[in-house]
C-alpha cells in the first residue's frame, strides 16, 4: 500500500478493545467477564465474539446481582448468555447479606456499593485473577486516570497514587496469588462511541434503554421511578406521602440498582434517535441519572478504592 488510510474511530476503538481482550486471554490464567446486561457490557460481548470466534470465550461471564435490578435487564442477560452458548455465573448481594458480610443500614438503601463485597467474595471463590469490565474513562473523573489493566491488591483496593505505568500497548497483567487485575477494554470509548457501535453492529438491548411509559415521581430534583416490580414480585421504590405519581415517557441512559438509577425524559424509541439525543444532550451520562455518584465529589473514587469496578 502506498498511501495509508487510517482506520475510522470506531474501527480503531474496536481493534484496540479486541487487542486488550486477547491480552487478558494470553496473560491471565483464570479471567472472568463481568456482564450486567447493560449497554457497555453488551458491546464487550460483541467485541469478545470478534476476538475469539469461532472458538469459545476463554472466560466465563459473571453478574453480581444486587437483587435490585429491572426484570427486563435480568431476562435479557440470561437470554444473551444462552444465545452465545457461554457460561454465566450469578452471585448475589442478597447471599452476602445472608452470610452477614453485607450489612445494610436501611432495608431499601442502594446496593451498588455493596456489590464490591460480593464481587471480592466471588473472586476468592473462583480464584479469578482478572475481571474484565465495561468502565469508561469518560464516565467519571476518578476513572479518567485508571489504567486499562488496573492492579488490585488482595483486598481489591485501587491505589490511585501508585498505579503501574502503562506504556504503548504493552500491558502488564502479572499478579501474585490473591491479587487481581481489572481490565477495561473500552476505556477509551465515550458514551457516543458506545451508541454508534451499538447502531453499527445492530446490537439488541434491554427495552428500558428505549422510550417507554413509566410511573415516576419528582424527588430531590430528579426523576424517580416508582412501584418497580422485582424478580421476587415485590414492588420497590414506593412513593412517599405527598408525592404525585406521573406517568411519563422516559428511557434509561444507564442501568443499575433500581433505587438509585433515574431515567431521562425522552421519546427516542430506537438506536438512531438515541445517537442524535446523545449528541445534543446537555447533561452528562451519570449527572442526572446516577444518584449514588452525587453523594460527594469523590464518591466514585472512594468506591473504587474499596474494590468497586
Amino acid at each position: 500500500m502506498s498511501t495509508k488510510q487510517p482506520l475510522s474511530h470506531l474501527d480503531w476503538l474496536e481493534a484496540e478493545a479486541i487487542h486488550i481482550l486477547r491480552e487478558v486471554a494470553g496473560q491471565c490464567a483464570n479471567p472472568v467477564l463481568l456482564f450486567s446486561g447493560g449497554k457497555d457490557s453488551l458491546c464487550i460481548l460483541r467485541l469478545a465474539e470478534k476476538a475469539f470466534r469461532p472458538g469459545r470465550f476463554p472466560f466465563p461471564l459473571m453478574h453480581i446481582d444486587t437483587g435490585h435490578n429491572y426484570q427486563e435487564v435480568i431476562n435479557f442477560r440470561d437470554q444473551r448468555a444462552a444465545e452465545l452458548g457461554e457460561r454465566l455465573i450469578v452471585r448475589s448481594v442478597e447471599d452476602s447479606m445472608k452470610r452477614g458480610t453485607v450489612v445494610l443500614k436501611t432495608p431499601d438503601e442502594p446496593r451498588n456499593k455493596h456489590q464490591s463485597v460480593t464481587l471480592l467474595e466471588a473472586i476468592e471463590e473462583f480464584g479469578f485473577d482478572c475481571c474484565i469490565g465495561g468502565a469508561r474513562r469518560d464516565e467519571e473523573k476518578a476513572r479518567a486516570k485508571e489504567r486499562i489493566m488496573s492492579f488490585r491488591d488482595e483486598f481489591g483496593q485501587w491505589d490511585p497514587k501508585n498505579q503501574r505505568p502503562e506504556l504503548w500497548n504493552l500491558y502488564n497483567a502479572r499478579v501474585h496469588k490473591g491479587e487481581n487485575i481489572r481490565a477495561f477494554p473500552i476505556s477509551n470509548w465515550t458514551e457516543m462511541d458506545v451508541w454508534q457501535y451499538i447502531e453499527r453492529e445492530k446490537l439488541e438491548l434491554p427495552s428500558i434503554y428505549f422510550a417507554h411509559q413509566r410511573d415516576i415521581v419528582m424527588r430531590h430534583g430528579a426523576i424517580f421511578p416508582v412501584n418497580v416490580p422485582l424478580a421476587s414480585g415485590e414492588l420497590i421504590n414506593q412513593p412517599k406521602a405527598g408525592e404525585e405519581i406521573i406517568n411519563m415517557q422516559v428511557r434509561f441512559r444507564t442501568v443499575g440498582d433500581v433505587t438509585c438509577t433515574a431515567p431521562v425524559i425522552s421519546d427516542a424509541d430506537d438506536v438512531s434517535k438515541i445517537v442524535v439525543e446523545t449528541a445534543t444532550t446537555t447533561i452528562t451520562e451519570r449527572g442526572a441519572t446516577r444518584l449514588d455518584d452525587q453523594t460527594s465529589d469523590a464518591s466514585m473514587e472512594q468506591r473504587k478504592k474499596e474494590g468497586y469496578f
Partner: protein
C-alpha cells in the same frame, strides 16, 4: 457535533507545568468544542465560587482525584476525550511537576502529536527543553509549540517571533527540528485566542488555529511504508466444537502492529523460521482479503505450523532480526532503583524474556542534555543501557518501528512495570 461514524482518531498530549496554563488549554478545548455539558459546568462554577474566583475557572475541568484537589497538584496522566464531528480526540494530560519524566514518557508512548506550552512572558525554559527532548526521544512525529499567555504580553508579535527563533535554534541543536514536523502558534488559552476561534487580538498571525492544526495532523503514527509485523497474542483451536469443519481450525490471533498483509502472501513465523502462506484473514466470522496497521485480526495459514503466543508472523521478504542482546534508551519508572546485578523480565510485543543488564553506558541529564556516567538508575532517569536476553526477541529499531522497537521492564518479585525501553 455530528453523529457520523467514519471520523478519524488522533491521540495527542499536552506538555507544560502548572503555571503554563495547560489545564486551562484543555478546559478551553473541551469547552469550545461543546464537550462540556451543563451539569459539569455547574459543578465547576460552584467550585470556582467556593474558591473565591470571579470567573468560571475552566482549568477545574481537569481536576481529578481527591488527593489532587487536597494538595492542588496533578498526580498522574489523565485521559480526556472530545470530538469535532470530523475527528475524535484522545488527550493524554501529563502533569509537569515531579515524576514528570515518567508521566511524560507514559503519555508520549501513545501520542502522535505533542503540544508544548511556553509562557510568552518567560520564553524557552529548562522545562521546555526537557519536554522537547522527551517528545523527541519517544518519537512523537508532530510537535506544536504553543506560545501561551499572549494576552499578558499585549499580544506582541516581536515577543512571539523571538521565542519562535529561540526554540528553532534549540530544536536544531538536539536534532528535533530536522526529524519532526514542528508548528508554532501564539495563543491565549484563558481568552480563547487561536484555539478554536481566532478572535481579533492577533491579526498579525495568519496561520492556522490550534484546532485547524489538530484537524489536519496525520492520524497515522508513521507516513512511511512499514514492514508487516504480527505478534501472536492467542491461538484459537476450537477442537471441542460440535462443528466438524472446525476440527482442524487453527487461527493465529493478534493485532497488525505495522504494515499490511493479504491473502496469499508468503510469511515466516519467528523465531522458528517456518514458512507458509496466508490462507485466510478473519475478524470474528467475517472474511477479509487484506488487513492493515492497527487492525485486530485472525490469520489462518496454508500449512499446519506449531505456533504459540509470543511468536511473530512477518512477510518472508522483510523479516526482522532475532537478537539476544539489545541496546536501548531506558526510562526508569520505579521508586526502587535499577540494580545491575538483578535479573528482570523484558516484555516486547507479546513475548517475554529474562534479561540481565550488560552495562549502563551513560545517563542523560534531561535539563542540560549532558551525558553522565552512572552505576544505577533512579526513578525518572533516562539512560542508554544494554541487555542480555535469555530468549531471542524479534526487534526493529524504535526509530524504524515503534511497536517492535519498544519494550517494558518488569520486576519479577513485585510484578511492577519498572522501566520503559526504546531499542537503538
Amino acid at each position: 457535533m455530528t453523529t457520523q461514524h467514519n471520523d478519524s482518531l488522533l491521540r495527542f498530549m499536552t506538555c507544560g507545568s502548572v503555571d503554563d496554563g495547560k489545564s486551562t488549554l484543555i478546559g478551553r478545548l473541551l469547552y469550545d468544542t461543546k464537550t462540556i455539558l451543563a451539569d459539569t459546568l455547574n459543578n465547576i462554577a460552584r467550585t470556582s465560587q467556593k474558591r473565591g474566583m470571579e470567573a468560571v475557572d475552566l482549568s477545574l475541568l481537569t481536576d481529578g482525584l481527591q488527593a489532587e484537589r487536597e494538595q492542588g497538584i496533578t498526580i498522574d496522566v489523565a485521559y480526556r476525550y472530545f470530538s469535532t464531528g470530523t475527528r475524535k480526540y484522545i488527550i493524554a494530560d501529563a502533569p509537569g511537576h515531579e515524576q514528570y519524566t515518567r508521566n511524560m514518557v507514559t503519555a508520549a508512548s501513545t501520542a502522535n502529536l505533542a503540544i508544548i506550552l511556553i509562557d510568552a512572558r518567560k520564553g524557552v525554559l529548562t522545562q521546555t527543553r526537557r519536554h522537547s527532548y522527551l517528545a523527541h526521544l519517544v518519537g512523537i512525529p508532530h510537535i506544536v509549540v504553543a506560545v501561551n499567555k499572549m494576552d499578558l504580553v499585549d499580544y506582541d508579535q516581536a515577543t512571539y517571533e523571538k521565542i519562535k527563533a529561540d526554540y528553532i535554534a534549540f530544536a536544531t541543536e538536539i536534532g528535533l527540528a530536522q526529524a519532526r514536523d514542528i508548528k508554532f502558534i501564539p495563543m491565549s488559552a484563558l481568552n480563547g485566542d487561536m484555539l478554536v476561534d481566532r478572535l481579533d487580538n492577533m491579526d498579525w498571525y495568519q496561520g492556522e488555529t490550534l484546532l485547524d492544526i489538530l484537524e489536519a495532523a496525520p492520524a497515522a503514527h508513521s507516513e512511511q511504508a512499514e514492514a508487516f509485523r504480527f505478534p501472536v497474542q492467542f491461538v484459537c483451536r476450537p477442537h471441542d466444537s460440535a462443528n466438524p469443519e472446525l476440527h482442524d481450525f487453527r487461527g493465529f490471533m493478534g493485532r497488525v502492529e505495522s504494515g499490511s498483509i493479504a491473502v496469499g502472501d508468503a510469511v515466516t513465523v519467528l523465531p522458528n523460521g517456518y514458512q507458509s502462506k496466508v490462507k485466510a484473514i478473519q475478524v470474528g466470522n467475517e472474511q477479509l482479503q487484506t488487513a492493515q496497521t492497527e487492525q485486530s485480526i485472525t490469520l489462518l495459514l496454508e500449512d499446519e505450523i506449531d505456533t504459540s503466543r509470543g511468536d511473530m508472523i512477518v512477510k518472508t521478504s522483510e523479516a526482522p532480526e532475532a537478537v539476544k542482546q539489545i541496546e536501548a534508551h531506558v526510562c526508569w519508572l520505579s521508586e526502587t532503583p535499577l540494580s545491575p546485578a538483578r535479573t528482570y523480565i523484558v516484555r516486547h510485543t507479546t513475548r517475554e524474556s529474562k534479561a540481565k543488564i550488560g552495562s549502563i553506558q551513560y545517563k542523560v541529564d534531561v535539563n542540560t542534555l549532558e551525558q553522565q556516567a552512572t552505576a544505577d538508575l533512579k526513578m525518572n532517569d533516562i539512560a542508554r543501557v544494554s541487555f542480555k536476553l535469555a530468549q531471542p526477541l524479534m526487534v526493529d529499531s524504535y526509530d524504524k518501528n515503534r511497536a517492535t522497537g519498544a519494550f517494558i521492564v518488569i520486576d519479577e518479585s513485585s510484578n511492577n512495570t519498572v522501566g520503559a525501553g526504546m531499542i537503538v
